[in-house]
């Protein structure tokens, strides 16, 4: 057992875990944050994506002990309680989710993708950028629409603020 201390959604947390405990299991089982999901065993599906020090990572592919001292944002911490991040709102508006299981990982990936893009996204770039997140329900059509719409809104706002 190792004691792991890190910051999750802005709060300092710590917990004892086996050295082999994956970050995703630490988040789900030690912290009770069950919005982060496990959909495969091979780092392919992306249902477990969280932000680690601001970058999207698959939390099934790092150990909890490796994340010690880091700052993690999960889907639960993306927006203040009762509010939706623009990407979450766009997924709702454009019906970018059905069963909801891939959704947290998809949203976290999309937030990072939009953040990294500087606003320079089109359908091809979004499809390429979401290649590591598998959705079985939506055929991605509305997810792509939602991400492009959120990108427009977020970078539009940035541009407006700059002006």
């Amino acid at each position: 057992m190792t004691k792991v201390t890190l910051t999750v959604n802005g709060r300092a947390v710590s917990g004892d875990c086996d050295d082999r405990t994956l970050l995703v299991h630490f988040i789900r089982e030690k912290l009770g944050l069950t919005g982060t999901h496990v959909g495969c065993d091979t780092t392919q599906c992306g249902a477990c994506v969280v932000h680690l020090d601001g970058k999207s990572v698959k939390s099934c592919s790092i150990l909890a002990v490796q994340a010690a001292g880091s700052s993690v944002t999960t889907i639960e911490g993306l927006a203040p309680q009762g509010q939706l991040h623009p990407v979450q709102a766009a997924f709702n508006e454009h019906h970018g989710l059905q069963c909801g299981f891939c959704t947290p990982g998809m949203v976290m990936t999309a937030v990072d993708l939009i953040g990294r893009s500087g606003g320079d996204l089109d359908e091809d770039k979004v499809r390429h950028g979401l290649e590591g997140n598998i959705c079985r329900c939506t055929g991605y059509h509305n997810i792509v629409k939602a991400v492009l719409s959120a990108n427009e809104q977020m970078h539009g706002e940035v541009r407006q603020a700059a002006e």
Partner: protein, 788 residues
């Protein structure tokens, strides 16, 4: 329709919890004292178990117990069953081999459960499972249906000699043979329908909780039909009587058919919870899902389609062998029979049809319904045959279809189904226009100049949904009725709960069902809650599959709403001293027509519950329930067109455009219906281009048991889709709904393969059309393009 009523594009009510991580799936459930299970599974595809030694495992850290099939059997837990009886054409019943929840003497596929380990943590259970020593005596293996039927093939169940489960037929063999012998042209092809794994993103999971004080079980599970799960576990598996078994299917992360069935794990975890006196949770990992979730498709067929000199179809003969895997799953027998061969008339007037279907055991995962279930297999077979026929006859594929369309309704096919309404030409025309079909030759020429090969293909599908009229399916062998139930509970302040036997695992019922109530009563959808998925809350219901929740589930809600409205009108008439027949319900008010007298909905609800001033003899309260049994199937239909471009250097297929023109009858929420089509298309395109479960034929090892090996469609594999609707209302149910859940997966594979074979110039291609297969096909034979 109002902003939230029927036909409105309402964003989903349930989204917020999924978007903020507040969805509650089975694996998220935590109860005090909960322990974790891991299943010891057979590494062999076929073997005799000669001994199990769990002593070392039991001594490992955290291990509570290891239980095996002999103990389960000794406790009287029953074998898994197939719930649909099919008789062979000689009158004999299907040959069902025993499927024990934990294998006792023989294992029949890789992944067959042998023992359960219960431990303090999932990791400890998994560690200990590796210390359970099972002695196996390996037996010969067979994985394909053709090989399983060969003389001398390994015998999988003693009950089924030669591995043949049944040899069934439908239609008129003599009339069909006569049509073929008199035909001006006969198109003959072989059709392979590739085996798929459904792959909902949420892996199956179950949490069994035994309460010794009450002698009561609770089962959280990833189910599309919790009441059916309770019924089957009570009536056949002897887990507990129904009143002592509560089944809860909370948020469920997709199903696509694979979560209809009751699997060994639910049964064993409930039983293990009693044996160990702790709640037992099991969550599948993805490899386990490939090893144990029921697969879909896996048909091999021979087809003869006969035409007269005017290119009218005069007969269709089909010989199909369906691989059902190692055991008969819950509805496995219905899929390649009544959900398949009854759709072989397609959209066409075919006077004579005969289909023969043999089902066989192999040493593979059990096969059952996967999105579309039989109807994709029928559509792929027919629409590939139509395309090949058009090529052989030298006529346009559109014109050949047009010439043979059924044009007047109702239409009785020679294979049971009675189509009630449709307009196939409307969808064909809409799809061709949307795809700019006539502009294709110029696009092909342009691609050719860039060294690329373009192809275009269509598919005109029909399916039978709204499953299903109980008496009809009963007469065909179903062990259950397929009606649906609903209860509408108006609270004293006028808010409403609708309890439905349907189950939403992505379909958006919490929104669409609320829209129906909003449409009827004029109340906002925010004041309507949809309750489902808990046998303690909801009366008996049949769940969600076969695109039935709208056509059947919502029809039950309509019936219950009718009763609620009738009572509310009586109360309002009494309170406003008006005649009941003059009361109308509009915008959340009950009004006396032609006057300014009005009562808000909540006041009528309150009056029903205060009961201070009700009509003489009326019971207090405002709550009604209803059961709805459909009178017929529904028949969604449409036309799909795919245009592809192939890089001849690599064989990679790019989808340039995909057009779907559907007739779903009336639509409650276009946003959600479009989403259903998108998802179905992705799965159908996955089948056509990417997906296939493969086994090593010598050992029976599954070769595609992870996302590294099984190609799931990803965002960059797919295009955006072009959709339209040409709806003819369904005359068979009160809302005119046909259903939309499976169409995309049914109609798309043949459109894709017709397009790809158009591009490569011959028809020797099987699904999935991987780059290697397409490249190989391109090297093969002179092409029709060259001939042109």
């Amino acid at each position: 329709m109002g902003v939230e009523g029927i036909g409105a594009r309402v964003a989903r009510k349930e989204d917020k919890r999924f978007l903020t991580g507040k969805g509650r799936y089975t694996d998220d459930m935590v109860v005090p004292g909960m322990k974790f299970a891991y299943f010891v599974r057979s590494p062999h595809a076929h073997a005799r178990i000669t001994g199990i030694d769990a002593s070392a495992a039991k001594a490992m850290p955290g291990v509570i117990d290891v239980l095996d099939g002999k103990q389960l059997q000794a406790d009287g837990i029953g074998n898994l069953i197939c719930g649909w009886m099919i008789h062979s054409k000689d009158g004999s019943p299907m040959k069902m081999g025993a499927w024990r929840p934990l294998a006792v003497d023989t294992v029949r596929y890789v992944g067959d459960a042998v023992a359960i380990v219960v431990a303090d943590s999932a990791a400890e259970a998994r560690d200990a499972s590796e210390a359970v020593v099972v002695d196996y005596e390996e037996l010969p293996v067979v994985t394909t249906s053709l090989a399983a039927l060969e003389a001398g093939a390994p015998q999988i169940h003693p009950e089924a000699p030669g591995n043949l489960i049944f040899d069934w037929q439908i239609g008129d063999p003599a009339a069909t043979d006569k049509a073929i012998s008199e035909a001006a042209h006969v198109t003959e092809i072989e059709i392979l329908n590739n085996r798929l794994s459904p792959n909902p993103m949420e892996p199956r999971a179950t949490l069994g909780i035994y309460d010794s004080a009450e002698d009561h079980f609770t089962c959280y599970t990833t189910s599309q039909n919790p009441h059916v799960a309770r019924l089957v576990m009570s009536a056949f598996y002897n887990v507990a009587p129904e009143n002592k078994l509560r089944v809860i299917a909370p948020d469920v992360g997709g199903g696509f058919g694979s979560k209809i069935y009751i699997y060994p794990e639910e049964i064993v975890c409930l039983w293990a919870s009693k044996k160990t006196s702790v709640p037992v949770k099991w969550t599948s990992d993805r490899t386990e899902a490939f090893l144990t979730d029921a697969h879909g498709r896996d048909h091999v067929s021979k087809v003869k389609m006969a035409f007269d000199k005017d290119h009218r179809i005069i007969g269709l003969k089909v010989d199909t062998i369906a691989n059902l895997g190692a055991y008969m799953s819950l509805f496995s027998s219905a899929v390649p029979t009544y959900l398949y061969a009854t759709l072989l008339s397609g959209q066409y007037a075919i006077p004579a049809i005969h289909a023969n279907v043999r089902t066989v055991y192999t040493n593979t995962v059990p096969v059952d319904a996967y999105r579309g279930a039989g109807r994709p297999e029928a559509t792929y077979l027919l629409e590939r045959t139509m395309e090949v026929a058009a090529r052989e006859l030298g006529v346009s594929p559109a014109e050949l279809r047009r010439k043979n369309f059924i044009r007047s309704f109702p239409y009785q096919t020679p294979v049971i189904m009675n189509y009630d309404a449709g307009d196939y030409e409307a969808s064909l025309n809409a799809a061709m226009e949307a795809a700019d079909w006539n502009g294709f030759p110029a696009r092909r020429a342009e691609a050719e100049r860039r060294g690329k090969k373009r192809g275009i293909g269509m598919s005109c599908y029909i399916e039978a949904c709204g499953i299903a009229p109980s008496q009809a399916v009963g007469s065909l062998g179903a062990g259950v009725g397929l009606w649906e139930s609903a209860e509408v509970r108006v609270n004293a302040v006028g808010t409403i709960e609708v309890l439905t036997g349907s189950h939403s695992h992505g379909q958006g019922h919490e929104t669409t069902f609320a829209q129906l109530v909003a449409d009827r009563l004029g109340v906002p959808i925010a004041s309507v809650n949809i309750v489902h998925g808990d046998t303690d809350k909801v009366q008996m219901g049949m769940g969600t599959y076969g695109s039935r929740s709208g056509a059947v589930g919502m029809s039950a809600i309509v019936k219950a709403l009718d009763k609620v409205e009738m009572k509310a009108k009586k109360i309002a008439a009494h309170l406003m001293e008006a005649d009941e027949s003059d009361i109308v319900i509009e915008n959340g008010e009950l009004k006396v027509a032609g006057t300014d007298k009005t009562l808000p909905w909540f006041q009528v609800a309150l009056a029903a519950y205060t009961a201070h001033n009700l009509p003489a003899g009326m019971e207090p309260g405002l709550k009604e329930s209803a059961f709805y049994d459909p009178s017929n199937f529904t028949f969604p239909a449409g036309c799909y067109i795919a245009e592809v471009e192939i890089d001849p250097e690599t064989g990679k297929t790019d989808i340039i455009q995909f057009v779907a023109a559907d007739d779903f009858g009336n639509i409650i929420n276009p946003l959600i219906v479009e989403g259903q089509v998108h998802g179905g298309l992705a799965q159908g395109i996955g089948q056509a281009l990417l997906e296939e479960v493969r086994y090593d034929e010598a050992t029976g090892q599954i070769l595609t048991a992870s996302y590294m090996d099984y190609a799931m469609p990803r965002a960059d594999d797919l295009p955006s889709f072009t959709l339209s609707h040409q709806n003819t209302p369904c005359p068979g149910n009160p809302l005119g709904i046909k259903g939309c859940g499976e169409a995309g997966a049914i109609g798309s594979p043949p459109a894709l393969i017709n397009a790809i074979t158009d591009a490569i110039g011959h028809d020797r291609l099987t699904m999935p059309a991987t780059p290697l297969k397409v490249w190989t096909a391109l090297q093969d034979a002179p092409t029709r393009l060259a001939a042109e």
